[in-house]
Every structure is written in C-alpha cells, then in structure tokens.
C-alpha cells in the first residue's frame, strides 16, 4: 500500500452530516439569501403610483409593521422524509387536503382574508416590493369568486371584479378531477383580460395559488388542484421557503421567461402559508398614462403570509 492510499483510508468512516445539521446550515444560507433584496430596479423620473389589479393596496387602512428577521418555527412537525419531486409533493398535499375541513359558505357571503405583505417599494410603480418592510393587508372576496373588496382611506369600500373570477361552487361541480378543475380555471381565465407578460401556463399557476390563498376550497377541490399542479409544465418543488411572516414552508414553484412564483405550503399539513414572486429577467412595461416602467431581474414582485381567513356576511365586515 502506498502512502496516498494509506491517507485515503484514514478516517474513512467518519459519520456523515446529520439531516439536522444540513437543515440548519441550509437555513442559515437562506436567511442570508432572503435578507438581500434583488437588484434594485432603476426607475425613470417619479410618477404617481398606478394601482394594478391583484396588487392594489388598501390605502391608509394599512398598518405598517416592521418584522424582524428572526426565523419562526412552522406549526406542526415537518413531514419526516424529504419530498423528492413535484409529483410527490402534489400527492402528499392532496392526501392532506382530503382530510381537511369542509367549509360551508353561502353564495351571498364573503371570505375575509388578512395577510402580511411586503410593502411596495418606493418608486416601484406597483411592481416591486421592499422585502424589509411589511404591512397588514385585508381584503374580502365574494364566495362566488367574482368580486373583491378593499377598504379605502376615506372609510368607503371599493368593490370590483377579480381574477380569475371562479369560486368553490363551480370548481366543486361533479366530476372533480385534476383535469376538470384545470379546465374550469382555464375557461374562467379566457374571460379575463390578458396580461401580456404571462404565458397561459403561468396564468394558470397564478390562478391556482390565488384561489388557494383567497378562498376556502372544499377538500376534493384542493386535492384535485394539488394533483393538477405537477401536470402543468414547468412546475417544480422548492424546499424551505419562508413566507412574509418567517414561517418556513415547501413550495410549488413556476418560472417563465419573466418571473418565478412560489406557492408556499406548511410542510406539516400542506395548508396555505403565502406566496413569493421575483422577476427573473429584465422587462419594460408600458402601463397606460405612466411609464415606460423598467423592472430589472431580481426585483421582488410579491411576498405574502396569510394570517387569517374567515367567512363573513358582508364585505367590510371583520370576524
């Protein structure tokens, strides 16, 4: 045996890195990754903010909350074995969803949704978010999924049509399968004005996380959606994604040419935690009466944590 072989044999049987140590090191890395916002967007001369559908904020009623960077432990225990791929995540989440509660909401009622969101970045024109500032955001979504309401600073309520404009009742019509739920969402999207920056599959993915975040879907619909997600091309798994409240989850992710979005789920029961989105390439937008608006790759687009969802009788009512 030569000396190099002898050295190779020395301490050959050293124990491998434990899963806990690996998790801890990965967490430290992600904390550093998240602390650094992507490249700041380079804005043109200042213009008034243009509110966009879905990312419009409740003005003045919003409460600015400064959240520290401490990591918050998710409720429950994480699943024992790590998820290998997106199909497995879909299957596990579907099974957990099947055991979930069956909310009973009257068609005239509304869902009250309270979220913690990363605040819009100054000068961001409604596109960019500031990962270091959070605010409470409340909205009401009609149970039929067609309308959304926000409080205005003046105390009035703004109600308008929302995207994708479909509710639990339509999604839960028999038969409920991964294919039928996707078809129904596609049909609903066909009626919504197109957003040129998103491909059809990306809009489908976004519609799914929006539905999961804003409505209380019955178990069979949620599980069908979880099984449907892996069938959408480009949907992958991302591990250890924090929501805006620091709760760490597992995410379905999808990136297209312009942006990547994460649908973040609690790893113990696959309940909805929040969403995260980031631009992955440079893009220029031309909103009406404003701009051009240049959004650079790395700009955070959205970051949320759902704090509460309840059924209420009227828009504007709090539980």
């Amino acid at each position: 045996m030569d000396e190099l072989t002898a050295v190779r044999r020395l301490r050959e049987h050293i124990p491998a890195m434990t899963p806990e140590a690996e998790e801890a090191a990965r967490t430290r890395l992600l904390a550093a990754v998240r602390d650094k916002p992507g490249l700041a967007a380079a804005w043109d001369k200042p213009r008034p903010a243009r509110p966009r559908l879905r990312w419009r904020l409740a003005v003045a009623a919003a409460l600015a909350v400064l959240v520290g960077t401490g990591i918050v432990v998710t409720r429950g225990r994480p699943d024992i074995a790590p998820v290998a791929g997106v199909r497995e995540l879909g299957e596990r989440a579907a099974r957990a969803a099947e055991r979930g509660p069956s909310p009973i909401a009257h068609p005239d009622q509304w869902y009250y949704v309270k979220e913690l969101q990363a605040s819009p970045a100054r000068g961001g024109y409604g596109y960019a978010r500031d990962l270091h500032r959070r605010e409470i955001f409340e909205q009401w979504i009609s149970v039929d999924g067609k309308r959304v309401a926000w409080e205005q600073g003046s105390g009035g309520l703004l109600i308008q049509g929302t995207h994708p404009g479909i509710g639990a009742a339509e999604l839960a019509r028999e038969p409920v399968t991964p294919e039928t739920v996707l078809d129904r969402i596609r049909q609903a999207l066909a009626d919504v004005p197109e957003q040129a920056e998103f491909s059809e599959d990306q809009r489908l993915f976004q519609a799914i996380y929006q539905l999961m975040g804003e409505q209380m879907l019955p178990p069979e619909v949620r599980s069908a959606l979880f099984r449907a997600l892996p069938t959408i091309p480009g949907v992958t798994v991302t591990h250890d994604v924090p929501d805006a409240d620091g709760r760490r989850g597992i995410a379905f992710s999808r990136a297209d040419g312009w942006a990547r979005y994460d649908l973040i789920l609690d790893p113990s029961d696959y309940s909805f935690l929040g969403t995260y989105g980031v631009a992955v390439s440079d893009r220029t937008f031309h909103p009406v009466n404003v701009g051009p608006v240049h959004v650079k790759a790395g700009t955070p687009l959205t970051w949320s944590a759902r704090l509460d969802i309840q059924i209420v009788d009227k828009a504007g009512e709090r539980p």
Partner: protein
C-alpha cells in the same frame, strides 16, 4: 418559454443566475454540502464541520459575483473556501492528530463498530501516519488532503488554493516523502 429546472444547470450557470435571483444559490448547497462536510469532518470532527459547511456557503454566496464562469464545477472553489476556514482551527487539527498518534484513540467521532477488529490491526501504522500528518506544514497538508480526501485533481487543487499546478505537485511530493520517512522503520510502505 419553458422553465429550466435548476438541476439541469451546471454550477457556473447556477451561480451566474443566482446573481440576480439569489434563491437559486440554495441549489449549490444541495449539490455540494455533504461532500464539503465529509472533508471538513475528517480534519476537525463532525461538529466543527457543521459550522464550516454553513460558513463556506455563506462566504460563497457573498462572493458569487466574482465567480469565474469558466469553471463549470464549483467544487474547487468551495473546497478552497472550506480549507481557509479549516485553517483557523489548525492547532486543533494538529492536536487531534497527535492524540491519535500517542494514544491510538482518535478524538474525532468513532468509526463503525464492525470496523473495530480491522482497526486494532492497523493501529501502529495509522498512529504513525497521524503523527506524520500533524508534522506536515499547513501548505503541504492542505494539498495532500485536498487530493486524498476531497478527491481533487492537481488542477482542481491548484484552483482551490490559488497556486500553480507545479506548486501542487512539489508540495504533494514533499508531503509523501515526509510520510514515507516517518513510516520508515518496520513499515510495509513502498515508494
């Protein structure tokens, strides 16, 4: 435009993308953390290695803008960072090796139980080897262990340490000669 799965990208492309989308850097951790741990653990033990792995990737993340994309694999770069971090614990490393030489008991975590019989037989040679390693210069030991434990090639070791390949060869040559000399009397080493 279809999404490219992170697993299809080589290390250089991944690091490049992570400049603008920092999230992607986590994939580099998934690819290399365990290997870095094994190397660090063999030099300093598993607990110290846990920290060194974390610090290695944090450092790498901070330096990702300056990564040379000509290097398709990030291993040499990562091992280089880890080796610098390990160097801070040089006295501990040498102390552990000398303890193994003196007592025959490795202060690093014990090997598997079913290896005990084989280890008893190898005690003498292993102890002398540990002593030889302890007495190498830091530079020789780094080169030797990057090649023997991290399985780097001469070129990769050169990249990791930021030295010419010729220097890698000469340091390895000196290290091997020192070990041969130390193992000299009554040993079965061949040159």
């Amino acid at each position: 435009m279809s999404a490219v799965e992170a697993t299809d990208l080589d290390d250089a492309e991944l690091i490049s993308r992570s400049r603008d989308d920092p999230e992607q850097f986590a994939e580099l951790f998934d690819r290399h953390a365990r290997q870095i741990h094994r190397y660090a653990a063999r030099r300093l033990g598993t607990q110290a290695a846990d920290d060194i792995v974390a610090e290695t990737f944090l450092t790498a993340f901070r330096r990702r803008d300056s990564y040379d994309p000509a290097h398709k694999l990030a291993r040499p770069w990562l091992y280089g960072i880890a080796t610098t971090l390990i160097a801070r614990h040089r006295r501990d490393e040498e102390r552990f090796l000398r303890a193994l030489e003196r007592t025959g008991i490795d202060p690093l975590p014990a090997p598997m139980a079913d290896e005990v019989v084989e280890r008893v037989a190898a005690q003498g040679q292993e102890r002398r080897l540990a002593g030889a390693l302890a007495r190498l210069s830091k530079k020789e030991r780094d080169v030797l262990l990057l090649i023997a434990w991290a399985d780097l090639s001469y070129e990769e070791a050169a990249q990791a340490l930021g030295i010419p390949v010729g220097t890698v060869r000469s340091r390895l040559h000196r290290a091997r000669r020192t070990i041969r000399t130390t193992m000299g009397e009554g040993s079965r080493w061949t040159s």
